[in-house]
Symmetry: C2
Subunit: 197 residues, 2 copies
DNA sequence: CGTTCCTGTAAGCAACTACTTGCGCACTTC
DNA sequence: GAAGTGCGCAAGTAGTTGCTTACAGGAACG
């Protein structure tokens, strides 16, 4: 790993746990194991470094994909939502900090490409197909339903450790409950009668 | 309003939009319209002031209450969730900042008394009664269902302005959709057949 | 009138911030 | 062997931070 990459990853790490003001150039340089002057030689300013570091954090998403054509909603949604919520939990600190500082530093975080927004797009599409294929009620609004499920997963991932009272169930059990309630809500019976084909 | 109250409210305001590090004593004093020295005379330190200011922000909750005995779930939940989400939107900046800085300053924010946790407790109770009275399916888990609905409302209140793509519907329409999906999910038919009594 | 309480003003403290300049050392490339 | 490149080290800039000390004015109350 080059010094440059070391600095970028350290910047993201320190920013996630200390915020913009707390991510001082000294602290970032220390975390990267390089001299503070080297930081300025590579990026010129703290702002440039953080901008680049956070931009790099947004792309990689090895999350599970929803199938083009739905067939077993329960299994498909469980796997997808599970990988999605796991991903969010891993980025929890960064996401929380970005949210908290969005009003003050809007440019650092690009909501359009964020995990939740992309997930919601994929889910809306999936739900629309589900409806088209008659696997769900016709009356519900896919985008509102997507917002409901994504919001539930997001809040769980962000709030479970802070508010244990609110999240009494184990993570996996909670996820199953969410999906079951959700599928019932959109009129896709969680218990398939006989194998579809 | 006494100088002391002026300082407390200014502290909460400045903290909400600038965070702990950004809420400098000079800035708070300026916002309160008093001298910076007066701040120290009253509270001794920045930390004491912020702690007191944020503690005061947590109590007041004039939110609508859920009825002791459920009778019209759709109407009752709509009114309750509406007032709850409105309240959260009003405190959006403060909540976001608290969340973002919770890891760094845990003492400033007491999750047990926070709006969402109290709301979840009330909702869990309401749902349990709903089930007991046979107004909903017997198989769902009230606490998981409460986490689902609260999470949905929380994410909507926090994310709607940041991620307009995710929240395509108007706030009120979205809320109706959420509640309808939710009631279907727990097996409480959103369309009551004939007036209950 | 005198005392006490609350507030403002002036000045300053040490510590930390982002960022700069200048020098030297080790390595690679020609 | 010369030239460049990438990095660390020492020192220092001006500005901001939380917080302090010393002094003065004005209002309330005895």
């Amino acid at each position: 790993m080059t010094v440059r990459d070391e600095l970028l990853s350290a910047a993201a790490r320190v920013y996630a746990e200390a915020g913009y003001r707390g991510a001082t150039t000294r602290r970032i340089a220390l975390a990267a194991g390089v001299n503070e002057i080297t930081l300025f030689r590579h990026f010129g300013s703290k702002d440039t470094l953080l901008r680049e570091a956070l931009a790099r954090c947004q792309d990689p998403h090895s999350a599970e994909l929803l199938p083009e054509t739905p067939s077993h909603p329960m299994a498909e949604l469980l796997a997808w939502a599970g990988s999605h919520i796991t991903d969010m939990r891993a980025r929890q600190a960064l996401i929380r900090t970005c949210m908290g500082e969005f009003a003050e530093h809007p440019g650092l975080f690009v909501p359009e490409n964020s995990g939740p927004v992309r997930a919601a797009r994929a889910l809306t599409q999936y739900l629309t197909r589900l409806r088209q294929r008659g696997l769900a009620r016709a009356e519900f609004d896919p985008s509102a339903a997507a917002a409901l499920l994504i919001g539930t997963l997001f809040a769980d991932a962000m709030g479970r450790d802070i508010m244990p009272d609110l999240y009494a169930n184990q993570p996996e059990k909670a996820l199953k409950e969410y999906i079951a309630l959700f599928l019932r809500g959109i009129g896709a019976d969680p218990k398939p009668r006989g194998a579809a084909r």
